[in-house]
Each structure stands twice: as structure tokens, then as C-alpha cells.
């Protein structure tokens, strides 16, 4: 294995280990991992609201992606604009350090293709554990602090949850 190959393997192990730690604690359930290519690993598990989640790790770009995390989000709707603002605000210095995403260590972008929102997190400075932890924290907050608290009707519509 080349030096680059060994480094890549270390990255993948760190990311997988950080995700598996959630599975060991029972936060992620029905956890599975598949290696789609030498540089691309995919993780599937059940988590919030017992929904299935998919996370893709790309070694080359050091990115963690939650593909199609949220369906049916109109980009210019109140929800779409609010989501963008909420994600941006996670890096605000007004948040306490333990709640804040440090852009020097993790950059967050999200795409909206045909209403399907994907979240892409690029880990910088080899801060893999930090990156995974903050990525999980961000998704957790999107579901609980943003959607459940402010857009409960979206959760019902998009994920077929009971309106009560």
C-alpha cells in the first residue's frame, strides 16, 4: 500500500469508527457499512423518528454526504429559506463553542435538486472525529430544533408521520 493509500485507509477508519461509535451506543440502529469503491464508503442506519439514513464518505474529497436527506423542499419557500438560514447560523459566533461548527475544520454546503435536499460536509485539517460529530449534531438539530420545532407539518407531510 502506498503512503497515500495508507493515509486514505486511516481517514476511512476514523470516519467509520466515529459513526460506529453512535451505533454501539444505540443512537444509530440497524447500522451497516458497504465499501462501494476504494475511496467511497456508504453507511446506512435508522436514527431520528426511526427513519432510514444514508451517509456517504468520500476519501478523496474528505466529504461526508447525507444524500437526499430531506424530500420535497421548495428552495424559495419559507421552509427552504429557513433551512438555509438555520444551517448557516450553526457557524455563528453567537452560539456557544460546544454548539458551533468551526468553518476552519468543517464546511457545510447543501444542494437542492428538484426539491431533494442533500447535505455535504467537508472535513478539513484531518479533523475526522470532529467532523463526524458536528455532522451528526447538525442533522440532529435540523430535525429537532428546526423541523420539529418550527415546521411540524413538513415532517408529517414528508415522512408520513401522524398529524397528532
Amino acid at each position: 500500500m502506498t503512503t497515500a493509500g495508507r493515509a486514505s485507509a486511516r481517514q476511512a477508519t476514523s470516519v467509520a469508527g466515529a459513526l460506529e461509535a453512535y451505533a454501539r451506543r444505540g443512537v444509530f440502529r440497524s447500522f451497516s457499512r458497504s465499501q462501494n469503491s476504494p475511496t467511497r464508503a456508504e453507511f446506512r442506519f435508522r436514527w431520528l423518528l426511526d427513519l432510514p439514513f444514508r451517509v456517504v464518505w468520500n476519501d478523496r474529497s474528505a466529504t461526508l454526504t447525507f444524500p437526499d436527506l430531506l424530500p420535497d423542499v421548495e428552495p424559495r419557500s419559507l421552509l427552504g429559506r429557513g433551512l438555509r438560514a438555520f444551517v448557516k447560523a450553526r457557524s455563528s459566533r453567537s452560539l456557544p463553542e460546544h454548539r458551533r461548527i468551526d468553518p476552519a475544520r468543517l464546511t457545510v454546503t447543501f444542494s437542492n435538486r428538484g426539491g431533494q435536499v442533500s447535505l455535504r460536509l467537508r472535513i478539513r485539517r484531518q479533523q475526522y472525529e470532529y467532523g463526524v460529530k458536528k455532522a451528526v449534531q447538525l442533522v440532529n438539530e435540523i430535525f429537532l430544533s428546526f423541523l420539529s420545532a418550527l415546521h411540524p407539518e413538513y415532517l408529517c407531510r414528508a415522512f408520513h408521520l401522524p398529524e397528532e
Binding site: G26, P96, L144, S145, L147
Partner: protein, 637 residues
Amino acid sequence: MPGNSKHRSRRQFLNQSLGAASAVAAVAGSAGRAAAAPVAAIRVPDLIPSSLAAPVKPANFPMRGAQVFARVCKEEGLAALFCCPGNYEVINAICDEGIPAYGGRTEGSMCAAADAFIRVTGQVAACSGTEGPGFTNMIMNIAAANAARTPLLVLASNKRMSEDDAERGIQTVYQQPTTEGMKKYGKRLIDPNRIHEYAAYAFRQLKTGVPRPVHLDFPGEISGARFKDASELRYYYDKARYRTDSRPHPDPKLIRQLADRIRKAQRPILVASTGVFYSRAWEPLLRLAEKADIAVVESGCSRGHFSDGHRISASTAPGALMSADLVILVGQYSMPNVGEFHFSADAAYARIDPDAGDIGRNMPIDLGIVSDERAAIEALFEAVAPARRDAWAAELAAERKKFEDENAEYYKIGRSYTDAVHPAVIAKELSDFLYRGRLPKEQTTVVSGGFGIARYTRRWLRAFRPGQICNGAYQYGAVGPDCGYAVGVGASVQLGAGPQAAYKGAPIVAITGDAGFAYSGMELETMSKYRIPVVLIVYNNNAWGVGSPNLGRASHLYVFQENLRYEKVAEALGGRGEYVARPEEFRPALERAYEMAARERVPAVLNCQAKREYWFRDQYPPGMLGKVEPGCMAYAH
């Protein structure tokens, strides 16, 4: 028992009353032909105060089965009975023992009343109904009590066993299978000689472990059995011998582990839920929280076991929950699943519960401790190191302020809608009246009911002492029982039961919606009859709590006629009422209603005219609000 006035049945009572009514009608009929007779005022008949003041008649041998049972209820401290006629011998015997009793208009609402009484006092109460229809009328509210983990004693008469399967007469039903899944314990009593034994079964279950309803049904042979002396009863002995008051205590090693986790945590939080209230652990909880600077957030079917006004309360700081790094769930009987409580995925979880079989259900735990809640909190107090977490306290304070600012913004928007009363106006101005006016903020006990309106009122209601808020739709989500809950909470304050003692006689406030009012609004008559002062706020948005603006051809299923006058229902039932159509009218009407309730000891309804479109965010922001649990908004867990 023909001729025995003590055991008159409803039919015998009605026969006598109908005779008298016919005579009155005959006179009125002849007078009516001449001129319109003045309409008699609604009044409380002398029979009510006179029977309430009648001397207590404790039973002694020779006794009937119902009296044996009632005597156990008295000895066990049954705090109140809520019922409709039926199960005559049992309810009459309970009254004779001097246990406070309330007779209402439907068995279902009386079941809710007993549930709510328990939720704000922590004392066991009972509901009762007749066999068949009376019993099945209680079902929704037995289920609600079960979901809330209420130690509710459900009593019902039943047909004689000798008539089993015969469909002789009316009202045949098998009761126990009907309450399957809604109770902790149930029994159809079949051996008269064992009635004392099964009363003991009931109280053993009601007073130990994780509470839930106990359902006993009394076939005619049981309640009517006669016993000359104690020798005719089997298993007849004192409660000191048939149950114990001892409680499971925690493993000291696990308490040390938890104390160590608390020491290492930067932002620990304790979720004080139903079990904290029932184990009366609020004082030890306060000592523990203050010693180690552990934030406390409430959940459960009642609120106030940790004051919202405390420096380290997180109940009105929803934004702080995600910061907690250690979550200690105490007496959280209705367990959330992952993602239902707003905590970080990195937070460690400890759970303290009397039931080992429940620890680890739904939510993975890092440390489980089997214990009575109070015992564990007291042990933890001894084990924790004193600590100050000023940064954590400052974050809590900042998040409380942020929440208040958010509420203020909702109020500002809601107040700008002038053609009807927005829920934010009701919530904020009610809150100002209860906690920032001339009333002591600890005084008023509130039934926090309704569906959509509750998404607003919960944000503004505060609890400063145990049992101050009855969380109406907790877990089961029934909005219909609200007026029944108001009877129970009102009765608890009228009697000064448990934590309500210091506020004995004060008016209470109850909130419901127009949908909920339909299920139990007739209980305004019960409140009026017993002179229970209740300010009942009805959020009238002309519809069920529907979040979607367009339901097409099905739309008519979701709406009512508009501008219905629920306050007139109150007036017709002996209460008072006001129609509130504009936001500026709400506060003055609230003050008048409160004064009237306090002065005249009657219920007063504020029918607040809203509109269903208030739930549609694009038309009327902020629309239907979401929620954050645990804390003041919690009702699912």
C-alpha cells in the same frame, strides 16, 4: 331493596321525581294557557348542600359487600370519588364513609375528573359507573389515565353472575377484556367472601411501583353480599399486612458511578418526570440540583415539581437542551424514542426507574438504576460533589430569555390580527394575569388542555410549585376530557388536597378548544352544582384542529358552524359566560370572569372567537406551532 331509602336505585329515584314533575307540569299547563309564566331561575336544590353536610356513617358489622369495600377505601385514604349513578351500593357506601364524592353528567368525564384530581394531588381517587353503558362511557378516559400512568381506581357494577350470558334485562357486557391494555390490574370479583382480599389487591397495585389504573367490577352478588361478622370474610386483615410502604433503593455502586458522571459533566440535566411527582421527591430534587448545579427540565402529566422560576430550570429554555452532555431521566414512565427528546446525539443517558423491566426501552441508556425516584435522588444527593456550573447556568438564562423573546414576537404578530382573537393573545395575556398581576404566581392551578391552542398556551403557562399544571392531553392525546379534568382539578383545590392545600378554595383556570368542549362541556353543570370556581377558556376556531387549508371535498368534515355561542351553554347550565370577539376584549373579560368565579363560586366560560385560518402559516404566521420536548411544551412524553 324496595323500601330501603339508603339503597334506592336510580329507577326508584326517577319514579319518585317523575311523579312530582307530573304534578308540576299539570299546574304549569293550566297556568300557561292563561299567560306566559315567569321562568324559574336555575338553582341548587337544598338536597345537595344538605346531603353534603349529612353526618358520616362509617360501616360496621353486619356489613354488605359494598360496605366492606368502602371501608378499605377509607382506610387506604381514597381521596375522592367521581361518578354517575349506577354501581349504587358501592358509591353510596363510599359516600357514607365520608370520602368526598362528586356526581357528574357522564361517566367518561367523571373518569377524567378522577384522573386529573390524582395528577395534581398525587393521591389515589376513584371513578365509578354503572354496568354496560356507564362503564363503556369511561373507556377513552381510562385509556388516557393509563397513558399518563395515573393510579386511578376504576369501579363499575356488573350484572349478577347468575345472569351471565342470559341477556336478561339490559346492560350486559364483559368488562375486563374491554380494559385490556389500559390497566395495571383488573378483576371481576366472583367470590363475595374475598371482597376484602381483592380490595387489598387493588390498593397494593395502586400504591406501589409504576402506577396505572386498576379496574374492579362488582357483579350484584358481590356488592350485595351480607356479612354478619369478620369470620365470614376470607383474607381479612389490616393493610399493614397485605402491602408494604417500603420502596426499592438504588445500588450504591451505581449511584457512585452516576455521581462520578455528574462530576465530569459540564452541562448535566435531569429530566424530572411523573415518578418524581408521585414519589413526592420535589424537595430532595431541589437540594440535589442546587448542590451539584444540575439543570432540571420537567416532563410528564403534571408540572411544578421543579419551579420554572429557578435559576437552573430548563423547562422554558428549549434551546439549551441540545447542549446537555449528560441526561438523567428520573421517573420518565412514558419513554420517548430516539429523536423525540431534543437532546444531542452525543449526550450520555442515565435512567432511574422503579421498573427494571422498562429500563432500556425505546431509548438506549449508558447507566440504568432501578429505584424509587425519591430514594435515588436522596442517595445521589449524598454522593454528588458540590459544584458550580456558572457557564451552564448562564446558557440556561440566555436560552430562557431567547424563548421569552420568541414568545413576545409571536404575541406581537398575533396581536396585529384584529378581527378575531389569536391564540398568542390568549396565551400571553392569560400568563400576564396569572403570574404578573395581583395574584400570587403560585396560586392558580391550570388545566392545560386543547389541541392547537395548547401549542401556544403551553409556551406561556408556568409552574412554580407541585401540581400547578395538569397537562391535559398528555401522551394519549385526548382533547375531549378537558372539562372533566377541570372538575377534578377544581375539586382538588376546593378540598385543598395534597399540594393544593395552600391554595384551598382558589379559582382554577382551564383551557379547551371548541372540539374538546363538545365532549365534556356538560360538566359545567357539575362545576356549578358543586360551586367549583373555574374560568374555562374555550378557543373557538370553528373547526377541529386541522393544519391543512385545503381538504377538498372532505373539507366539511373538519369544520363546524361559525360563531357558535358556547358561553350561552354555560349560562344555561348555571354558570356564567362571555363572548370574546376581539383581542382587546380578552384581558378585561378574563378579569371579570375570574372575579365572578371567585365571588359566586361558579364556572365562567370565555368563548374566544378565533378562526381556523390561524393554523395556516402562509396566511397567518406563525401558524400552527411545533414543540420541543421535554419542558413546558411537552405533552407526548
